[in-house]
Symmetry: C2
Subunit: 167 residues, 2 copies
């Protein structure tokens, strides 16, 4: 067996998603072969976001992605069924360390979630830890049932691919 | 007994605070003798906020209070022990209906909560409903133990007084 392929497969499957029943939380963890500074740069670059954020095979239009404390963002996903708009504001952007932002799918206006992404250095790279909290257990459950798992897994895998390409 | 005083006392005690154990939520409800439009105007006016937001006897400096979707705010409370700074961003401001915003005490950076304030018309006035969700049960508990109850009750009572004065 080719050790390179084994390593790739392990990396491709290393996203963990944790959404404990009866809570409004979703936690996503993934390790990458990059420094916190590299991962931060790639995940906050408006010109790169369409290459990794969202499920594979979706087209993305980034209308605004102003990553700074007090900045805001809006983007659209397009597929054969139509258009999905998402928007939010950045509460804190602490370079190479963490980002706190809001997130809303405009199809369910007023159902907002708060996300904190932390860039933790590890012995071999960086651990991205995203913690989302919804305004109710019901809206968290609706998000989980919407098929978020594919979107999250694809995003994390695409991000790993982009890091390998962009460095 | 003077019926006017009884009515005032009832109004003064009508704030309910609900923080269920083991959850990251805090819910505050209060009815006011005002229309949703009046209450919205008073609660979003940067020139009035120092007159009602926070515990009685505290001095407040409003550095920024830009109430619009994508706007941000920062204010400071001063008492004999020092200065406390708070800041956040407005995710959605839907006039006379609801406001979704973030909230952080700068003394605990990175511990952010998401608040939704809804202005619901009732038969006799307006019900203000504020739902806050913290990033963890632990940070919600720390907020509850910080003595938030006095601050919330005082704020709601001061708001009722300001409505009676400003109309």
């Amino acid at each position: 067996m080719n050790p390179q392929i084994v390593k790739e497969q392990e990396t491709m499957n290393a996203t963990t998603i944790n959404a404990p029943a009866g809570t409004p939380f979703v936690e996503v963890t993934r390790e990458f072969d990059a420094t916190p500074a590299q991962l931060f740069r790639i995940t906050t670059d408006p010109d790169l976001i369409a290459q990794w954020l969202g499920p594979r095979g979706i087209d993305m239009t980034v209308e605004k992605y102003d990553v700074r404390s007090g900045g805001s963002y809006r983007y659209l996903h397009h597929d054969e069924n139509g258009e999905y708009a998402f928007r939010g504001v950045f509460h804190t952007v602490e370079q190479d360390k963490y980002v706190v932002q809001t997130f809303e799918w405009e199809g369910a206006p007023g159902e907002v979630c708060l996300e904190k992404a932390t860039y933790e250095p590890t012995e071999t790279g960086v651990r991205l830890h995203q913690r989302s909290v919804f305004q109710s257990v019901e809206s968290r459950d609706a998000f989980v049932e919407s098929g978020m798992e594919t979107g999250i897994n694809d995003s994390m895998d695409r991000l790993a691919e982009l890091i390998a390409k962009e460095g």
